[in-house]
């Protein structure tokens, strides 16, 4: 028994990612077609070269037909997956395993979400018939529980906490301003962020990620085949996924200053990849900044800062584009937008660009490190699923 990973057994050889945002003129089909064909072109393959597909979407379609119909696939296997906001990563993980197993030569992982057609603010959940006793907190409210708990535990003044959260949003907007595919492509002044209308707890509108439409896709092959497609494949070093027991809302030892699921998935991923000092070994990280306090807590859960110190590091600019460890160089969920099923693959897309030196020069990270991390979570503090991947430009 054990989690062994598939380090260096598979590689990404092509990716596609639509612009994220309000696509009033595009449906789910259009987004899927755009992302898939960009990925085919990127890998230099035809659609018929793909042997199997993994489609991630939370609520924009059901079954493999959601993909096979618009792409007019020729009787190929298509799995449709859902794992909350980590859906895109889950599609990627399963496609990687299928290739590593030897079952298929070429697989595509593709994620999509069309959120803007609902007409509602924020996310709209779909729940099975229930007894009406489940707490019906919105996503921002659930994640806002982190802020006062963190501030109290580590003695951070309310005003300082607001400053920390504001700086996280400011940083991600600043990065997103340099990204033509991002939903929000402009810098936002700290005063605007801090003064935005409150949504939940201390969180204002600008502390929340963008509700958007979008799609992203990756083509995966065995590592030894990768150079047939590209001179610069991105190798999969680790894939870790954790679903917790959802103990937070029932277990009084949980204190809302950490995601135990993230800690467990990060530990597994680092072990798979052989990483002992993430800050020293990782070039960049794409993390699940659904709300600003989430990114703050993630810095500690992923080992980028000691417990109780991430707020200081965030203020010091450690995670800025030109900081010691750039976090969310593409703007993150905050600024790139968060079309649920696509987000995990969008994070990999930024690793794909950055580690191959193909990011636009104004946000290309200059580093001699070759590893990128993506972190994707779904659910709420105390009750979530968490995914961590490590990818790298070099094999071995």
């Amino acid at each position: 028994m054990g989690s062994h990973g598939i380090k260096d057994q598979v590689a990404i050889v092509g990716m596609g990612c639509t612009r994220f945002g309000e696509h009033w003129d595009k449906g789910v089909d259009d987004l899927l077609i755009d992302a898939a064909h960009e990925a085919y072109a990127s890998a230099g393959v035809e659609q018929d070269d793909i042997d199997a597909f993994w489609l991630g979407t939370m609520a924009s379609g059901q079954s493999g037909l959601t993909l096979s119909r618009p792409l007019q696939l020729g009787y190929k296997p298509v799995s449709r997956l859902e794992n909350y906001c980590a859906t895109g990563s889950e599609a990627f993980r399963n496609a990687c395993y299928a290739v590593a197993s030897g079952a298929y030569d070429v697989a595509m992982a593709i994620g999509v979400e069309k959120l803007k057609d609902s007409g509602f603010s924020g996310l709209v959940g779909t729940r099975p018939p229930a007894d009406g006793t489940e707490a019906s907190l919105t996503a921002p409210a659930s994640f806002s529980l982190l802020a006062p708990a963190y501030a109290k535990k580590y003695g951070v003044e309310e005003s300082t906490m607001k400053e920390v959260l504001t700086r996280i949003a400011w940083k991600n907007h600043r990065n997103g301003a340099l990204n033509p595919r991002a939903q929000f492509r402009k810098e936002v002044a700290k005063e605007t962020i801090a003064g935005s209308p409150l949504v939940a707890g201390p969180l204002g509108v600008f502390d929340c990620s963008g509700v958007s439409d979008g799609s992203a896709a990756a083509i995966i092959v065995r590592a030894e085949d990768a150079h047939r497609y590209t001179d610069h494949p991105i190798y999969v070093k680790a894939l870790a996924f954790t679903a917790g027991p959802a103990a937070g809302p029932i277990d009084s030892t949980y204190d809302y200053t950490t995601f135990r699921e993230v800690v467990a998935s990060a530990e597994d991923a680092y072990a798979q990849a052989g990483i002992t000092d993430p800050m020293a070994e990782i070039a960049m990280a794409e993390v699940h900044d659904c709300f600003t306090p989430t990114e703050l807590v993630l810095m500690e859960d992923l080992g980028f800062a000691p417990r109780g110190m991430a707020w200081k590091e965030a203020l010091a600019g450690t995670f800025d584009l030109d900081g010691e460890l750039p976090v969310n160089p593409d703007g993150g969920l905050k600024s790139f937008g968060h079309p649920i099923g696509a987000s995990g693959l969008r994070m990999l897309f930024e690793c794909w660009l950055q580690l191959r030196g193909e990011a636009p020069p104004e946000r290309q990270i200059e580093t001699d490190k070759s590893l990128g991390l993506t972190h994707n979570l779904g659910g709420a503090p105390g009750a979530c699923v968490s995914f961590v991947s490590i990818v790298g430009a070099n094999r071995g």
């Binding site: 603010s121 229930a130 659930s142 939940a200 009084s252």
Partner: protein, 477 residues
């Protein structure tokens, strides 16, 4: 040969006044008319007759281990028709399935009438609940003078427990006349000219009281305490004046209409509870109610009353009322102001089968406790979070356990009839954590470490299904 029946009467009692009061002057300020002096009690947006009935019954039952055979609910504002309302109260109190639960719905008269039937019966122990929400069209007298409240009396024979007050006698007069009426489905009632029924009521009331006192064996000295209740304010005043002039001056209980309002089916019960809260042992109490007739009951308090008084008292609840409610909110809560909802989907209706499967949790707030580790699970679980034992749990009632706020948030995006939603993670004394909504709370005054207690509420209504469940409110004691 006749056999004296066993002594019967009140075994336990409790009243519930909702947290909020509307100052009647706020109606006048907003509309330029209506309103008046004083305050009225207001059921919150998440309260209804069933939830208030539960709260009154919890107060009544907290200090006794006597269990009823029958639960009755009297009201003019039933949350359901066709579906019995008393079963919701039955479930929230986690009563045995063998207890009959039934409604008496329609006129306010059913409140005191059901109580009289219960108090006089030696055959079964009855939990007699009366609960009401009273209002009318904006600017109407009904809106200003109504009040929302509930009362619960556990009644039966002294064979099942110590009587706090013994039933001595009762009398009724019934007449058919058009005074106040409402078509089912209407939000307000209509009334005939007040002076028409005044005379009829006055005559009936004096007759009923005289006969009840005679049956109780009370001579010319009259009762030590008299409650005059009823839906006809003018007749109530006239009867009170006549009785005061006849020698009962000083014995007539303070009218709660000024601070609480006229509470419909719950009026006589809450007024009686207020008298029981302060009466001495061995005193007689007469309750007279005017509602499509007149009903009178006479009781004598016993030595057990002092020890059997519930907390909080009616006076405590009047004292702690929150007068900060504005008129627009009041209108919104009662459905007279159709406000723009948040841009969020309507909540899903609770489904029948899952609600039934979780009856003890959803209605009774019964969690589960791991028999080996003691870990408390809310909601109840089959697999323990502590050690993973499977199906080794025992039920643990949590509704009356106090808790402390571990963390909280104010959700300004969530659907609510009265945004914002205040949600808290709470840790119960002795173990158990739960995440729930808070109610009767000022969002600006919540803090980590605050003490809270559980209260039964109607979370929302979807497709005509009322979603009952528990919330936390700031601890009252």
């Amino acid at each position: 040969m006749t056999v004296d029946p066993a002594p019967t009467g009140i075994l336990a009692y409790g009243a519930y006044l909702p947290h909020y009061r509307l100052e009647r002057s706020r109606i006048t300020e907003a509309l330029g008319s209506g309103g008046g002096r004083g305050t009225r009690s207001v059921a919150s947006y998440d309260e209804d007759v069933n939830s208030m009935g539960v709260e009154a019954a919890r107060v009544a039952l907290r200090g006794t281990d006597i269990v009823p055979d029958v639960l009755t609910l009297a009201t003019t504002d039933p949350p359901y028709l066709d579906k019995t309302n008393a079963t919701t109260i039955h479930a929230a109190l986690d009563l045995d399935p063998g207890v009959m639960a039934t409604d008496a719905v329609g006129g306010p008269r059913s409140g005191l009438a059901q109580f009289i039937l219960a108090a006089a019966s030696p055959w079964w122990t009855t939990l007699s609940v009366a609960s009401d929400i009273r209002t009318g069209r904006p600017g109407s007298a009904e809106e200003a003078l109504g009040g929302d409240a509930a009362a619960a009396f556990l009644c039966g024979s002294d064979a099942s427990g110590d009587l706090l007050a013994r039933y001595l006698g009762s009398a009724s007069v019934s007449r058919e006349f058009l005074d106040r009426w409402r078509e089912p489905g209407n939000h307000y009632s209509r009334v005939w000219e007040e002076r028409f029924a005044e005379g009829i009521y006055t005559e009936m009331a004096l007759t009923a009281l005289e006969r009840a006192l005679a049956k109780a064996g009370l001579g010319t000295e009259g009762p030590d305490h008299l409650v005059v209740s009823g839906i006809h304010a003018r007749a109530r005043r006239t009867v009170t004046r006549r009785l005061a002039a006849s020698g009962l001056e000083g014995r007539i209980a303070d009218d709660l209409a000024g601070v609480v309002g006229s509470m419909g089916a719950a009026d006589a019960g809450v007024s009686l509870a207020a008298v029981l809260d302060r009466a001495n042992p061995g005193e007689t109490i007469a309750v007279l109610s005017l509602s499509d007739g007149a009903d009178a009951i006479v009781l004598r308090t016993t030595d057990h009353l002092t020890a059997g008084r519930p907390a909080p008292s009616v006076a405590d609840q009047i004292e702690s009322g929150d007068t900060g409610l504005d008129y627009a909110k009041f209108l919104t809560w009662r459905g007279f102001l159709d406000r723009e909802p948040p841009r969020r989907p309507d909540p899903d209706r609770p489904a029948g089968p899952p609600s039934h499967r979780s009856e003890h949790w959803k209605f009774g707030f019964i969690g589960s406790r791991d028999r080996s580790t003691g870990a408390i699970h809310l909601p109840p679980q089959r697999v323990s979070m502590d050690g993973g034992a499977v199906d080794d749990m025992e039920p643990v009632p949590m509704a009356d356990v106090g808790a402390t706020i571990a963390t909280f948030t104010v959700d300004r995006l969530a659907y609510s009839m009265s945004p914002p939603v205040v949600a808290a993670v709470i840790d119960f004394d002795g173990g158990g954590r739960f995440q729930c909504e808070m109610t009767d709370v000022d969002p600006d005054r919540v803090a980590i470490g605050d003490r809270v207690e559980m209260t039964f509420r109607r979370l929302f209504t979807a497709d005509g299904v009322h979603n009952y469940f528990w919330k936390a409110r700031p601890a009252r004691s």
